[in-house]
Every structure is written in structure tokens, then in C-alpha cells.
């Protein structure tokens, strides 16, 4: 009994250990040499701890920002961040291991669905699955699920999304890439299909964004961390200016309050950088293992890959989509509070990746006019869905938080609006 207790208390509840063991199993299944098994397992372990460190940096910077924003503008402003939801779920709720096991369950369900149905998509964007696993675990947990059912339900819902999202986007991906070799594996697909639909209505596909000449100054925005910094710095500094030196002094100490805000904005980007480096280490071994296994089990599998894979097909559309999505999300920031929804600040990481990809979708169905108009609508749409989630998150104990990535948000709403009442009815 002591052994079992030791395993439960020290291995299965330690998320880093759980995920390292999953990676180890994957490496052994592929019959890798002992040296590779050891180094791969350790790298995964390190990656998970780096990821946790990154998310606590982000949470600190966002907590500071939340306080000065409330003081400065007299209302709550929320920076949607799935990374910070992940951090809080792991650090405060202790759900790390459940998230790691749900992650594995989503992989397995994905392979099973691809093996036995005609949808042969294998979802290879590891970080997107990690965020999906986070949302399914958090919402399953609050729907009253524990232990094995929590992981199983999360695995099935995540697995269905992992196949269904690439499948609905595939007709347009074929149009963009001119082949059926790759699919899109990015959980913002509902937003892309929305964009493609709007663009088809308002646009003219004969005039492509790629014939435009864009100013050179925009190009550095392709460097993810720089573009996040460019937006975060003014946001933090202006907010601090509104909050005033007296209020900010409690955080800044003897440092000038504006300089302190500037450094906090940089600190936020540091957190994103550390977190994503952790994700890189974490997934470096797991994803190839999954890919190797999936390709053996599923004949004719189509890999669903992260959205920047599409960027070289229409680089101008990426910038157009990013800018127009940002405009849409700024409009939504001011409009949503009018309808007594919370104020959601633009989440720049999503605006870039999801906005850029939406630009490519918009261009494919409606040319440049379509891409611009539908991009603005897209920005509004991907701000509206997270806004609907804030109230639920508050009820769950996450204060002023919401997630990005509309597909994971849709999964969360599915839990909150459909499964939760269902479980209540069944008395679970």
C-alpha cells in the first residue's frame, strides 16, 4: 500500500514526472538507443519545468497590469492568455498531471478516429493540443469529473476537435497550397472558416493581396517576440500613466513608475519567451514519437500542422490579416462593454498567428477586399467568444482571465453549456 501511495503522491501528481514518463514510453516504443531515451526523457522533464517558470512570470506581469488598469480606467480589462490559464490550472489547482494525461488521451483518440474513419488527419501541433488539454481538464474538473472519467472525456472531446478542425478547413487548404499533402492543425479554425465565409460574401477573389506592395516597416512584425513587445510596451506605459505615480509607487518602489511599467511589459514578453522555450523542449521528443506511431498505425495519414506553414503561400495576406484582425479586436474592446460584456484587451500572440492565417483564408475566398473586411470581422469574433467565457472563469475561481484560440474556447463553452447541465441532470 505504501508503494501505491508513494506512486500516487510523488509520481502521478507531479506533472513533470508524468509527462517525462509519457515521453520515455514513446521513445522506448520506437526502439531508440538507451542514450536517446535518457536524453529525451530529461529534456521533456526540463521543458515542463521551464514552461511552469514561464507561466508564473506571465501571471506576475499580468497581475500588475490588471491592478494598474483597474486604477487607471476604473474598469476591469482582461488580457486573454491561454498560457496564464495553463499556469493557474497547474500551480493553483494542481491539475498538471491530469492535463498531461489528457494530452496523451487526445493523441490516442486522434489516432483511433483517424484509423477507423475516413478522416485521416493527425494533429501534430503539440502546443495547441496542450492548450486544448488544459481547457478540457479545467472545465471537466469544474463539471465535477475526477480521475479517469475526467481524462477520458477530455481525450474524446479533444480528439474529435483534433480531427474535425483540420477536416472542415481542408477544402480551403487545398485551394491555398494546391495539394492535399498537408492539413491545418491550429485550434483557431472556427475563426478561419468564419473569415472565409465573410470574405466570400464581400470580396472579389480575382484581386489578390499578393499583388499589393506593403511598406517595408511592417516586416519585422514577423518576428513574434518583437511584435508582442511593440504592442505590450505602449499598453503598459499608457496604462501606468493613467493610474498615476502615487498608485504605481507600491509596485515600482524607488524606480520611476513609467520605467517600471516599461520593464514590466518587457517582463511579460520574457515570460512568453521562457514559456515557449519550455514548450519547445517539452514537445521536441513527444511529437516525433507521436508522428512515428501515428504514421505506422494510420495508412495515408495527412499531418495537420501549425499555421505558419501556410505563411509562405501568401506573406502579404499574413500582414493584412494581422493588422485588420487587430483593428477588429480593438473595436470589440470598446463595443463589448456597451453590451455589458467584459472588456477584453487585444491578445497579440493570437492576433498575429490567427489573424495572419485568417488573412490567408480571406484572401483565398475573397481577395484583398475580402481579406481586409473579413479580417476586421475576425478580430471582433475572436474577442467576442473569449468574452463569453469570462463570467464562467470567474465562477471557477480564475479572476479576470480568459483564453484565446477560438476552438479551445468553443470546447470550453461545450463543457459549460452542454456537459455541465447534462452531468447535473444525471447526478454525477
Amino acid at each position: 500500500m505504501e508503494v501505491v501511495n508513494f506512486i500516487i503522491n510523488n509520481i502521478l501528481t507531479q506533472a513533470a514526472i508524468t509527462i517525462a514518463l509519457i515521453a520515455m514510453a514513446g521513445l522506448i516504443l520506437q526502439k531508440k538507443p538507451v542514450g536517446n531515451v535518457i536524453s529525451g526523457t530529461l529534456k521533456t522533464l526540463l521543458g515542463f519545468q521551464v514552461l511552469s517558470a514561464g507561466s508564473s512570470i506571465i501571471v506576475q506581469a499580468l497581475t500588475y497590469f490588471g491592478q494598474i488598469f483597474t486604477e487607471g480606467f476604473g474598469m476591469e480589462g482582461i488580457i486573454p492568455s491561454i498560457e496564464s490559464i495553463n499556469g493557474q490550472a497547474m500551480n493553483d489547482l494542481g491539475l498538471g498531471s491530469q492535463i498531461a494525461l489528457t494530452f496523451l488521451a487526445i493523441f490516442i483518440c486522434n489516432i483511433l478516429i483517424a484509423r477507423f474513419t475516413k478522416w485521416k488527419y493527425i494533429f501534430l501541433t503539440g502546443q495547441a493540443i496542450l492548450w486544448m488539454a488544459t481547457m478540457c481538464t479545467v472545465f471537466g474538473y469544474f463539471a465535477g469529473l475526477r480521475g479517469f472519467p475526467l481524462i477520458l472525456v477530455g481525450g474524446i472531446i479533444g480528439g474529435i476537435f483534433a480531427v474535425a478542425m483540420p477536416a472542415i478547413a481542408q477544402p480551403i487548404i487545398r485551394k491555398i497550397t494546391g495539394s492535399n499533402d498537408i492539413a491545418l492543425g491550429h485550434f483557431c479554425t472556427i475563426g478561419y472558416m468564419f473569415t472565409a465565409g465573410v470574405s466570400k460574401l464581400v470580396g472579389d477573389p480575382s484581386k489578390s493581396t499578393e499583388d499589393l506592395k506593403l511598406p517595408k516597416g511592417f516586416e519585422f512584425l514577423q518576428d513574434t517576440y518583437l511584435s508582442v513587445m511593440v504592442v505590450m510596451v505602449p499598453m503598459f506605459v499608457i496604462t501606468a500613466a493613467f493610474a498615476g505615480p502615487e498608485f504605481c509607487a507600491q509596485f515600482a518602489g524607488s524606480t520611476n513608475y513609467l520605467m517600471h511599467a516599461f520593464l514590466q511589459a518587457i517582463q511579460f514578453v520574457v515570460g512568453v519567451y521562457v514559456l515557449l522555450s519550455g514548450v519547445r523542449l517539452l514537445l521536441g521528443e513527444i511529437v516525433p514519437a507521436f508522428r512515428g506511431i501515428a504514421m505506422k498505425v494510420v495508412p495515408n495519414a495527412i499531418p495537420a500542422l501549425d499555421c505558419p506553414v501556410l505563411f509562405p503561400y501568401a506573406p502579404n495576406a499574413v500582414i493584412v490579416g494581422f493588422v485588420s484582425t487587430t483593428i477588429g479586436s480593438v473595436v470589440a474592446m470598446f463595443v463589448l462593454p456597451v453590451f455589458s460584456l467584459p472588456m477584453i484587451l487585444p491578445g497579440m500572440l493570437t492576433n498575429f498567428f490567427a489573424g495572419g492565417t485568417a488573412g490567408i483564408f480571406g484572401n483565398a475566398t475573397g481577395g484583398r477586399r475580402g481579406a481586409i473586411i473579413s479580417g476586421i470581422c475576425h478580430g471582433f469574433f475572436i474577442t467576442l467568444l473569449p468574452a463569453l467565457l469570462v463570467g464562467i472563469f470567474n465562477g471557477l475561481g480564475f479572476i479576470n482571465a480568459t483564453a484565446t484560440d477560438v476552438d479551445t474556447v468553443a470546447a470550453a463553452l461545450l463543457y459549460a453549456w452542454l456537459l455541465l447541465p447534462l452531468f447535473k441532470m444525471m447526478g454525477v
Binding site: 502546443q127 517595408k216 513574434t224 517576440y225 519547445r280 500542422l305 505558419p308 506553414v309 509562405p312
Partner: protein, 101 residues
């Protein structure tokens, strides 16, 4: 001699560079050469001192802003970063020039 280092690069150094790395690994295995593969973001790419950088065509203008020692690091730009055919076509001559193939 140490293995040749090939670095795949994208904006965040996370998703598409990784996908490119996995495809390149297949190509490398079929060519039967020993190289080290890794992936990273643009800002830190050059600090790795790789022998070859593979990245997507849309980052060409970004790399134009950096000073790259062409005798040490060879740039390869790809239109489809997960196309085995394109990677093999563009990588083979570079590997020959570097003397590993």
C-alpha cells in the same frame, strides 16, 4: 569532425520550424548522412552558429537585415517548408558543397 548543424527557423521557433525539421529528418535519413537538426526563432537563430539555416520564403527580408557569414552559414529559403521534394532539391547541392554527401 563534428556533425553538420542544420537549424530550422520560424517566427516563434515552435510550430512550423519543427514541422520543417521532421520533414528534413526524413530527407536526411533517405540520403543517409549524419547531421544535427534543431529549430529556433529568428532572433536567436544566428547565435547557434549553424552550418545551414532553413526557413520559409517569407523570412527572406528579415534575414537580409542580419550580417551572415556566408562562408560559414548557408541560407536555404523554402516555399513549402514541409515538402520533401523541395527540401531534397535545395538541400542536396548544399550538402555536396559542404562535403558531407
Amino acid at each position: 569532425m563534428a556533425n553538420l548543424k542544420i537549424l530550422m527557423v520560424c517566427g516563434a521557433g515552435l510550430g512550423s520550424s519543427f514541422a520543417c525539421q521532421m520533414t528534413t529528418e526524413d530527407v536526411i535519413n533517405s540520403l543517409g548522412v549524419q547531421v544535427d537538426l534543431d529549430h529556433s526563432d529568428i532572433s536567436s537563430a544566428l547565435s547557434y552558429n549553424p552550418d545551414i539555416i532553413m526557413t520559409a520564403e517569407n523570412f527572406r527580408s528579415q534575414f537580409a537585415n542580419y550580417t551572415i557569414d556566408e562562408s560559414k552559414t548557408t541560407m536555404i529559403y523554402l516555399k513549402n517548408i514541409v515538402s520533401k521534394k523541395e527540401i531534397e532539391e535545395k538541400l542536396t547541392p548544399v550538402l555536396k558543397a559542404k562535403g558531407v554527401l
